[in-house]
Symmetry: C2
Subunit: 305 residues, 2 copies
């Protein structure tokens, strides 16, 4: 039985700081319906896809900060996305800021969920590789306060059986770390969904936008090839509250080749038929990880401070 | 004090099966002198640079097989290379087949050495990621019998202080494994020298030469960027005893960009000034491995069968 999943990389243009959830969900649903009309059964949205990427600013007012976080998923305006996706039989990956109530208080994560074609949540991932810092740097044109606003994810790097294959998730800066792809590769991942919010300019480094776009693709392409998996990388793009964001959402084959890519910096779909069996060749030969890795010699990879 | 090392990637064209060591060393010395004339202080030769790449054939006669291995380094015709390199004050990386006598018998490795500008051996690496199989497959146009002829390297992934910086080594198929770059990255590597003998056609996979060249560069560029290190990849190229080999020897910056590359499939030098301080930006920011990795979550990377 063929295992072809038609996937839509649903890039978003900027979200204004004062844009209500309802308006964002309207945009997500517009992309959803366009994807469904084109036969997609899985749509990948960006990281933190429900709001502006608020770690770019220091938010002093705790109530204002709290408003960026989802306390339940789905809830409020987001229910509409779940309902319409289930009606259209389209599953999705959605990145969002998560406030989790636990026995020992409230915890904040930069999270993503995998939702099945019936609208049920199949799995969750919480971002591990938080970039940025935990304090304000007033000299910068914009901040990256992910380490102030979020905790390091505590769910590991799980993969889930879905869409006839094995699906993994990663978020933004995770994609620069080969460990992330490998930890999912070792679990037989066949498609990694990955949303990002990445400035085109790094205030701390002398990197042209072209170089940063090259790095974005390089890491995802290498991760795909070296683990024989599809990778679907999806941007929040355009100029968001003065921050120029990288576009270039793309779908990458297990050979590392880009097969579909967004051309604009706005709301846009890139669509590809992802044959999960295209992973088999690599997984059985060059990247047969069980036969070809030498983990007994890799001890230093897991040594801590 | 600037730490600029002028490096020559000394690509070789094919070596005939019956080509004597003296003739090969003559070619190595020709490249050495051209590099020295151009101001190089470090030259990188390919994997198994002293002979044809014999794992491509099944060799039944044990004496014939034994003749491909070096029993001492340097010895015989190779002494000339060491002597002329020391005279010109040029250090080098040299790949060769090593027969090592130990208390428990003779062992065979696919090895590389790092030689200082004074002609002394600074360090050795023995290839860990042996590709191919350990038995003949008569249906193939050529073999890859590395797992028959060599043992898995037993020296780990060492780095060495040399040429004013920290130098690491890898060999051929090692370059496809992000673990290799990372294990050296964790030791602060600033330049990885890497020789390869890679067929342009894979008898086991439907891969065009263009795709295989893309994979070659993709892995080395990602390894360079993700560890903020220079990578110098050097081919044995051309048609060697009927096997079409990949060329494209190149020098890659810590940003992952290729800054020099061979254009032919023959003996050729690609030269670049490698500023080891160009590693600093990446090592202090994005790829500050001590701050930005999460090894406590990477346990599965070292789990064995």
């Amino acid at each position: 039985m063929p295992r072809v999943v038609r996937v839509g990389a649903a890039q978003l243009g900027p979200i204004a700081r004062n844009e209500p959830r309802e308006a964002v969900v309207e945009r997500l649903c517009t992309l959803l319906h366009a994807a469904a009309d084109d036969g997609c059964e899985f749509v990948v949205y960006p990281e933190a896809a429900l709001t502006a990427f608020f770690p770019h600013w220091y938010i002093e007012d705790p109530r204002e900060l709290d408003a960026y976080f989802e306390k339940a998923m789905p809830s409020g305006p987001v229910n509409r996305l779940f309902r319409e996706a289930a009606e259209r039989r389209v599953g999705f990956y959605l990145g969002y800021a998560e406030a989790a109530e636990t026995a020992n208080g409230r915890h904040h994560f930069n999270s993503a969920i995998l939702v099945g074609r019936d609208g049920s949540i199949i799995g969750k991932y919480r971002k591990v590789h938080l970039p940025g810092v935990d304090h304000v740097r007033p000299e910068l044109p914009f901040q990256n306060l992910e380490r102030l606003y979020f905790e390091v994810g505590d769910l590991g790097f799980p993969v889930f059986d879905a869409f006839g294959g094995r699906i993994g998730m990663a978020i933004c800066n995770d994609r620069r770390w080969p460990e992330v792809y490998r930890l999912m590769g070792l679990q037989g991942v066949e498609l990694i969904a990955l949303g990002y919010n990445t400035p085109l300019f790094n205030p701390d480094a002398d990197q042209s936008p072209e170089l940063r776009i090259f790095h974005n693709e390089l890491c995802m392409q290498a991760g795909a090839y070296q683990n024989a998996t599809w990778v679907v990388g999806v941007a929040k793009a355009g100029v968001e509250e003065g921050v120029h964001m990288m576009a270039g959402s793309c779908i990458i084959k297990p050979t590392g080749e880009i097969v579909a890519q967004c051309k604009t910096s706005g709301d846009e779909l890139a669509i590809a038929d992802c044959d999960l069996d295209a992973c088999n060749e690599g997984k059985r030969s060059e990247f047969d990880l069980a036969s070809n890795r030498r983990p007994e010699l890799y001890g230093a990879l897991v040594e801590t401070g």
